[in-house]
């Protein structure tokens, strides 16, 4: 039976309560009669022979590119870059797609006699991956072959000796990327397209860039003019990356892009109820829900976090293309939209979202308040094409405890951002002007980024900028169950229950609002007409 597409349910009195994520727990929430619930399409079937599909992609490139085997030769300098820990979500069960693709590429390189091969995790300003995380992404065989010899690197955006200035775009955007990658005879980028904004020129122009380069598009102006990030023609972020990508290409850097899509099979069998439609829950699903939600509620928060962060998604390879960057990306985008697109008719006054435990920036970590805002307003809000699900001046109601809790090793500058910046302003442009540079150039943050496992000092700013479009668009943001002091500091409104939140929302959108719930994850993207 072929997977069913996503759809929009209109609730009536017989509609069972809907699953609502609430950070490191979840529950059931009865939505008002007449509400809409957007469900993701069911996961597409996995490719039956992923290794064969990868080999085929490498030898039958997309766009103007020779097959990989023709691009490889003895004596050449080859660099293979790959997406970091932020993708996919949750981390996929072994073998990771990066391992599968890189093993296939290395087989070809070995056949061609290429000896000078270096792997680079394309961190941009993200935290360095740990050895277990690298082993999981690449597999033990690749890790053990490359790491001991210093041939497995993690991009260091703060080491001038490892960066190369490429030039400026016509708009004056400086492009500075990883020197080893730029000076290689061939740069192969191995990507995972979890959502439509991933991949394309963004892989190299962002993933291998420095702060000097990234600041040109990771800023409030660009973010506000990306409507949305997921829809390339309407995304200023996309346009900037494409300008930079073209400059990189014109500079003579040869890139062989390998992009992949995964299906949306997000949770393993013991958590499979999380991606089913509630009225289709079996007795086993109901029992699993009751047992799991009770256990998570009763467990100490660290234990609950470990349980959830331990989930490995049964994501499977859905498609793979290789070759010229733009041609590959165009094909991949078609597949992403096919898997994740849901047609939605018209906008809503209120959008509700249950925020889960994980975002791209807290894998094996804590979803701190800034990341809560980013997950809801930066990501879920922006998962649209055409128009946002919620109308301009509407209200977003998010469910999350939003505790003032931070991982000091992963997010040190977030703590200071929360205490020193958000206490002064929540305006992205003001913080961009007054605070960003001090954080971005702080030697201690740079030290922790380079030597520990810390996100770059400027990263919390970027997460806040990511919310710019939503904050400008919405009339009010309410967090149900959120720590009141923390929620208020971020300029949002706390509510104890959905009923309270709806009453508060009515002050903004009127007495009889329409409501749409994003039943997310699994991920979907709303095609709003």
């Amino acid at each position: 039976m072929s997977p069913r597409p996503g759809f929009v349910l209109e609730t009536d009195r017989s509609t069972p309560p809907t699953l609502m994520w609430n950070g490191e727990s979840f529950g059931l929430q009865q939505l008002p009669t007449g509400s809409r619930i957007i469900y993701a399409p069911e996961p597409f079937d996995a490719l039956k022979d992923p290794e064969g599909a990868i080999r085929h992609a490498l030898e039958h490139p997309t766009g103007e590119s020779e097959p990989l085997s023709a691009l490889l030769s003895a004596g050449m300098k080859l660099t293979i870059c790959f997406d970091d820990i932020s993708l996919p979500l949750p981390p996929m069960a072994a073998p990771d797609i990066r391992q599968m693709v890189i093993e296939a590429v290395l087989d070809q390189a070995a056949i061609a006699g290429v000896d000078d091969v270096v792997l680079i995790a394309a961190l941009a300003l993200h935290r360095r991956m740990t050895e277990p995380e690298l082993r999981h992404a690449l597999g033990h065989r690749v890790y053990d072959a490359f790491a001991p010899n210093g041939q497995l690197l993690q991009h260091d955006a703060e080491n001038p000796e490892e960066l190369l200035f490429i030039g400026e775009t016509a708009q004056g955007e400086e492009v500075e990327i990883n020197k080893r990658a730029a000076e290689s005879d061939l740069l192969i980028y191995v990507n995972i397209n979890l959502v439509a904004m991933d991949g394309g020129h963004k892989s190299v122009a962002t993933g291998l860039a420095s702060y000097r380069s990234l600041r040109h598009h990771h800023n409030p102006k660009t973010m506000t003019h990306s409507k949305s990030f997921m829809h390339a023609p309407a995304s200023a972020l996309h346009s900037a990356n494409w300008r930079m990508g073209k400059l990189i290409k014109d500079s003579g850097i040869k890139i062989f892009q390998i992009e992949t899509t995964l299906n949306t099979d997000t949770f393993p069998s013991n958590f499979s109820f999380l991606q089913k439609r509630e009225w289709e829950w079996s007795l086993r699903d109901r029992a699993a829900f009751a047992a799991t939600s009770t256990a998570l509620d009763l467990a100490p928060s660290k234990m609950a976090r470990n349980i959830l962060q331990g989930i490995k998604a049964p994501h499977a390879l859905r498609s793979v293309y290789a070759g010229e960057v733009e041609a590959v990306h165009e094909k991949i985008l078609e597949d992403v939209w096919a898997q994740q697109g849901v047609s939605v008719e018209g906008q809503t006054d209120i959008v509700t979202m249950g925020l889960p435990y994980i975002s791209p920036y807290n894998v094996n970590s804590i979803l701190n308040p800034i990341l809560v805002a980013c997950l809801g307003l930066g990501y879920f809000f922006n998962m649209y094409r055409g128009k946002p699900v919620v109308r301009e001046g509407g209200v977003a109601i998010m469910f999350h405890p939003t505790k003032p809790e931070f991982h000091p090793g992963h997010h040190p500058s977030y703590i200071d951002f929360f205490e020193q910046v958000l206490t002064q302003t929540t305006d992205p442009e003001v913080m961009h002007q007054q605070f960003e540079e001090a954080f971005a150039t702080d030697p201690w943050y740079i030290h922790l980024y380079r030597t520990g496992h810390a996100y770059h000092g400027v990263h919390p700013f970027y997460m806040w900028y990511w919310c710019s479009h939503a904050m400008e668009h919405l009339g009010r943001v309410i967090i149900v169950g959120g720590d009141p002091k923390t929620v208020r500091r971020m300029g949002f409104h706390p509510a104890s229950t959905l009923d309270d939140a709806l009453e508060m929302a009515k002050d903004v959108v009127g007495p009889s609002p329409s409501l749409t719930h994003l039943h997310n994850p699994p991920l979907f993207m709303a095609d709003v007409s």
Binding site: P408, G409, P412, I415, D416, E419, Q420, T423, A438, D442, P443, W444, H447, L448, G452
Partner: protein, 419 residues
Amino acid sequence: MKALRMERRPTRFVAAYLASALGAGRGAGVGPLRLGDGPAPQDLGATWIPVTPLLAGICGSDLATVDGRASRSFESIVSFPFVPGHEIVGIAERDGTDAKGQAFSAGTRIAIQPVLGCAARGVALCDTCSQGQVGRCGNLVHGHLRPGLQTGYCADTGGGWSEGPVMAHASQIFVVPEALSDDEAVMAEPMACALHAALRSPLSEDDTIAVIGAGTLGLGVVAAIDFLHHEHGTMKPRRVIVGARYSHQRSLAVSLGADEVVEPKQLSRAVRSATRSGSIGSSEQLTELAGGATITFDCVGSGESIAEALRITAPGGRIILVGMPAKASIDLAPLWRREIELIGAYAYGVESIQGQAVATFDLAFSFIAAKQLGALVSAHYPLERFEEALAHAGQAGSRGATKIVFESSRSFKHRKDDQ
């Protein structure tokens, strides 16, 4: 004379110590402090003036004394029974001369500089008193007075927590400017302490200053740094960062001149950011800054606050100990290794500012007027409600207050007549 008196009753000190575990000031109900009628202090001679208190403040050292938690080093420099209260504004009951030798008449409002130095004790001036540094006087147990480091700790002088009289020596008397209200005048003593502390180390424009604690003294130090810069041309430090627990303290700190105010647990992070310092030890938890504040004012005076100061003060920096400390267990290795100076800041006397000598109390009067520091007085209590007053003072921060004062019946009458 109706007064609150402290008597040497060891069992009550123990009871107060135990009760204070429930909160500062809670020793008042069970400790050695008692309200009652007793003998007024004897007239100590022509250079002494009987003063009827109007207002008398409650400070941290008073609370520690009432709770039996003060340093035992004070035992030999107090004499029992004594009437507490050393932050005093009152009315002179006869004509006299003040600390500058200027005559005043009975009925004049005066503030008492409470240190009982050589002049008050009738002994030849020691070196420090000769230099105007009466706070450093070593003759606190000599002369015709019984021991007592200040009015309010001496059995012969009386103290502010009474209907009066308090005996004030001419050298202790400062005539309150007409423009100052009683609330402003009663702040003269604690604000003189704050000014003295702010002047204990020269400031430079490169200094990053951390202030631990935002009670009366912490806020006073912040205000003093700003006042001294604007009114007396001292250097403005690069940044003043305050750790303040309560929201009203944070608002006050900003209005009084702080550049940045954070919750106490965030102070080390704020200092690190401001100084762009690294961290020693756990790089994640900021156990000790590699650099830090060039000057830290510890306005709490606990073992924990001194340890915090050592963690956030830069090598070669200075810690000014403003809050009254007691016995504490502190790891001083960072002080030794980082060559940090630990400097006490007690009381007042004569300050030297830009080459000019000025009495700290006179400086305090203009400071209080300029910064409108009478607003720090949060509540007045009659002596009869001393337990409530001391409990309020002990919980001042959490109850949105800063300075709690006793108000005498003379002051009540005075205010009623004015209305």
